[in-house]
Amino acid sequence: MLVLTRRAGQSIQIGEDVEITVVEVRGDQVRLGINAPRNVSILRKEILEEIHAETRQAAEADADVLAELSGIAGETPGP
């Protein structure tokens, strides 16, 4: 991993299109400003990991699960 030291107000340019600016440093928190093309997806890593974990958990369902769920579905009012 490349590690750079930056101060508030300083930036890092990644490739031609992505610029990351340190907006503010306060205690153990850093506020970052990101300029990037709209097609570049910018996500907080922990949210991505949370969704991955939940999707993996959902993928552990066995074949009997839908039979259990159908009882609930039966009580569902129409959309």
Binding site: R38, N39, S41, L43, I47, L48, E49, E50, I51, H52, A53, E54, T55, R56, Q57, A58, A59, A61, D62, A63, V65, L66, A67, E68, L69, S70, G71, I72, A73, E75, T76, P79
Partner: protein, 154 residues
């Protein structure tokens, strides 16, 4: 075509109904193809079965059935990549997780699947903001537990 699945054995699927997820589900391999199975006609829960990994299958649901106000915002770029020009051309599905030990059934409203009804191309999104989480209890499941006490009050 016939596909092998670890839960349902060999299953015949119509190639027209194949769903392609070029980037894959989040944290899963890319270039995966899936098919939706109905459990019983008219039921909201369906299986999303991978055609490339026999062991990969998830229960999915149209979240609007349980959460009528649910909104999944898709970026213009993403919509274009999937070939979706109009919200009516998109099918939204969310994964369902059953934790038997906790008696809990939840759906992931933060990371919905969006599938083009026109070409079967789809993606798993990550929604902005903190309105939704990965574990929304299905309201019907909650109501069922509450019913006995409600009737005793009446």
């Amino acid at each position: 075509m016939i596909v092998e699945t670890s839960r349902f054995g060999r299953v015949e699927v119509d190639p027209c109904n194949v769903i392609e997820i070029p980037r894959g589900l989040i944290g899963f391999p890319p270039e995966q193809r899936f098919i939706l199975f109905e459990h019983k006609p008219g039921e909201p829960f369906r299986w999303l079965q991978s055609l490339d990994d026999p062991a990969l299958a998830l229960v999915v649901v149209d979240p609007h059935i349980f959460f009528p106000d649910y909104e999944a915002e898709i970026s213009e770029e993403e919509a274009r990549a999937l070939g979706i020009d109009d919200p009516g051309e998109a099918q939204i599905l969310t994964t369902v997780t059953v934790r038997r030990s906790m008696g809990q059934i939840t759906t992931n409203l933060l990371g919905p699947l969006v599938i083009s009804l026109r070409n079967g191309r789809g993606a798993q999104l990550v929604l902005d903001g903190d309105r939704y989480t990965t574990r929304h209890p299905l309201p019907m499941a909650a109501r069922r537990e509450e019913e006995p006490s409600l009737s005793s009050v009446a």
